[in-house]
Every structure is written in structure tokens, then in C-alpha cells.
Amino acid sequence: MGSITTWMAAIGTLGLLSFAWKDNKFYSICEHIYVASGAAHALVLGVKNIKANAIIPLAEGKLLAIIPIVLGLMFYARFIPGQMRWTRYPIAATVGIGFGQSLPRLASTNFVSQIRATFKVWSFNSVLVIVGIICVILFFYFSASKRGQRFLQYPSRFGRIIMMMAFGALFGNTVMGRLSLMIGRLSFLFRDWLGIVG
């Protein structure tokens, strides 16, 4: 029976878990509190980021810091009738910066590094991984018809089986991850809140 934080967490946890029985008012209130808290947290961090990256540099005389403020404010033009077009510019800026930052990393970590890591060690398992990768990629090869072409059909079929094994494995891992979270929540309720379990 701990502090106010423990009580808040316990009541909220019970409220959300009550949905397993059926949709009810208690669940709805806890859900809304969670959404509000998440939004408030994002808002607080947002203001902190604006202050650190725009307001303080502007106060120090770095006039370029006005540009992101103007671009950011353009988002709110959607609330002025007939001025929706201004929202294009911050979106264009975000997309440009996002692609500029992610494209090289996408190419290096998701493409080059993956291929490099595949051919690093040579063993029976690594050969299986290489064959698996080629077959899965062949499964997504749609430039030519696979019908009647055995050299495309069989590897593609094997790729499908490999993917099913992977999805099964990922599903099993996800379920176990969620269950461990559930055990964590129950242990919080029974140990930290009620003090029943030692």
C-alpha cells in the first residue's frame, strides 16, 4: 500500500484490465486519462523542444531560428477558412528532412549491412540463411510469371515456408512478451499495491 503514484497506477491498471470482462465506464475513464496524459507529455516535451531549438537561439540573435517557427505555425492555417494550402510547406519540409536523414541510413543499415552480415560466417546454418533470404526475395519477384518456371516456382514456395516459420516465431515471441508484461502488471497489483505476494 504505497504512495499516491502506486494507487494511481493500480486504479488505472484495474480500469484497463476491466475491459477483458466487457466495455464499461471505468475502462473508458481510465483510457481517456491515459490518452490525456500521453498528449500532455507530448505537449510538454514539444514546448521544451521549441524552447531549446528555436526560442533560445532566437534570443541569442540567431535569426534563422525563426524559419521553423513560421513553418510550424503554418500547420495551424488549416483552421483559417480558405488557407489550407499553407500547411503544404511544413509537410514538404518534414518529408524532405525525413527522407534526407533516413535514405542513407536505410541504404546502409537495412541493405548493405544486412547483406554483409549474411555472408560473414560460413556454416550449415549460415548457408540455410542465405538460401532462405534468396528464396524469400524470389517470393516477392513479380516481374515475370512463375507459372511453369520451376527454377522460380520451387524457391518461391520454399521462401513462403520460411516466411511462415518466421511469422510463427515472431508471433510466439510477441505473445510471450505481452504475457510477461501481463505478469508484470499482476505482480505490481499483488506485490507492490496490495502486498499479498512477497
Binding site: 494511481m8 488505472g12 491498471t13 484497463l16 465506464k25 473508458s28 475513464i29 486519462i33 490518452v35 490525456a36 496524459s37 498528449a39 500532455a40 507530448a42 505537449l43 510538454v44 514539444g46 514546448v47 523542444n49 521549441i50 531549438n53 521553423p68 513553418l71 510550424g72 500547420f75 510547406y89 511544413p90 509537410i91 514538404a92 518534414t94 524532405g96 528532412i97 534526407g100 536523414q101 535514405l103 542513407p104 537495412n110 541493405f111 544486412q114 540455410l128 540463411v129 532462405g132 533470404i133 526475395i137 521462401g159 515456408i161 516466411m163 516459420m165 518466421a166 511469422f167 510463427g168 516465431a169 515472431l170 508471433f171 510466439g172 510477441t174 505473445v175 505481452r178 501481463m182 502488471r185
Partner: protein
């Protein structure tokens, strides 16, 4: 539209050049753009919060549907934002919201998914075809390999689980990563060249 496209192209090119070239001017420009993006994203987050407030305020004003929950949402949103801005996000006062609401309720939300995943799996994973049977069997083996009971049933379950994760699962995930990278690069190039204009509200 053309000016917006030019913004996308110029900003992306500056950051692409920053990755490949070591030119001080480009590095400074890239640094500016990175911090600008944080500011623009913060404004976008504010827009989302503003929309949330608008929708729930309307619901409370009209006393429509589940308006009591909406009123509570607005109160929590205002109080937490005020505490966060006044005392700071590292303060003990703000920590109450984080430790009492965000962290435990987030974990509970994810934990609840265990039920829905299990019930969805029960309906979907019927071993009708070879693919579904493989998926079902591998899923069960991985679950048993993760749980202590699996080792009691058969001592090799953890080793089998480990092999499934490091060989077939890794092969498929790597292939999907490679495919996603190729797709991502293709979309990126299309956006930079102005072929893809969906994000600006226009068709191709």
C-alpha cells in the same frame, strides 16, 4: 505546389550531401535542418493536442456520448501540461503523472494485447493448410521454448526455439529488411524527383 516540392528536394539534398561530403557549410546547414525538424514536429504535436481538445470540448459542451470521460480527459490534459511547464518535466510533481499514469497504463495496454492476440490466434490459426500448420507449430514451439514449462516437457525446446529464431526467422526478416530498403529508396527517389506528390495533397 512547385515551391513545396522545391523545399522537399533542397532539404533532402542538403542532408544527403551531409552524409556523403565533409563540407563545413553543408554540415552546418544539415545541423540547422535537423533542429528545425524537431521544432516543426513539436508544432505538429501541438496541432494534434489542439485537435484532441477541440473534439472533446465540443463533446462536453453538447453533453454528447461519453462526455464525462471527455471532461476528465480535458482536466488531466490541462493539469499535467501546466505541471510539466511550470515545474519542468524532470520535477517530482511531474514524475507523479509519468509513474502513475503513462508508464503503468502503457504497460497494461500492451499486456491486454495478450488476450486479443490469443483470441485472434485461436480463430485464425486453424491448421487447414501446410502454411498455417507450419505457422501454428513454430508459434507453439517458440512459446514453449520461452516458458519454463517447455523445458520440463522436453529439454530441447529452448534450443529448437533458438534455432528457429536465428535461422529461418532471421532469413525472412533480413529478406524483408532488404525488400523494405529497396522500396524505401525507390519511394524516396520518387518523392525527391516530384513524381510522388501525395504528401502535398496532389496526385501523381
Amino acid at each position: 505546389m512547385r515551391f513545396a516540392q522545391a523545399i522537399t528536394l533542397v532539404f533532402a539534398l542538403i542532408l544527403l550531401m551531409q552524409f556523403f561530403l565533409e563540407v563545413p557549410a553543408i554540415e552546418t546547414a544539415g545541423g540547422h535542418l535537423t533542429s528545425w525538424n524537431i521544432v516543426i514536429a513539436a508544432f505538429a504535436m501541438g496541432l494534434a493536442a489542439f485537435n484532441l481538445i477541440r473534439i472533446h470540448l465540443k463533446r462536453v459542451q453538447l453533453k454528447r456520448g461519453n462526455w464525462i470521460s471527455s471532461a476528465i480527459l480535458l482536466i488531466v490534459l490541462v493539469v499535467q501540461t501546466f505541471v510539466g511547464l511550470y515545474f519542468g518535466d524532470n520535477s517530482a510533481q511531474y514524475k507523479v503523472f509519468f509513474d502513475g499514469i503513462i508508464s503503468p497504463l502503457g504497460a497494461t495496454m500492451y499486456a491486454m494485447l495478450a488476450f486479443w492476440i490469443a483470441s485472434a490466434a485461436f480463430r485464425a490459426f486453424k491448421a487447414r493448410t501446410l502454411d498455417a500448420t507450419i505457422l501454428l507449430c513454430v508459434g507453439i514451439i517458440v512459446m514453449l521454448g520461452n516458458a519454463p514449462i517447455g523445458e520440463i516437457i522436453w529439454s530441447q525446446f529452448p534450443a529448437l526455439r533458438s534455432w528457429l529464431m536465428t535461422v529461418p526467422a532471421m532469413a525472412a526478416v533480413r529478406a524483408l529488411y532488404i525488400g523494405a530498403a529497396i522500396g524505401g529508396i525507390a519511394v524516396g527517389v520518387r518523392v525527391l524527383l516530384g513524381i510522388e506528390r501525395g504528401h502535398l495533397g496532389g496526385g501523381e
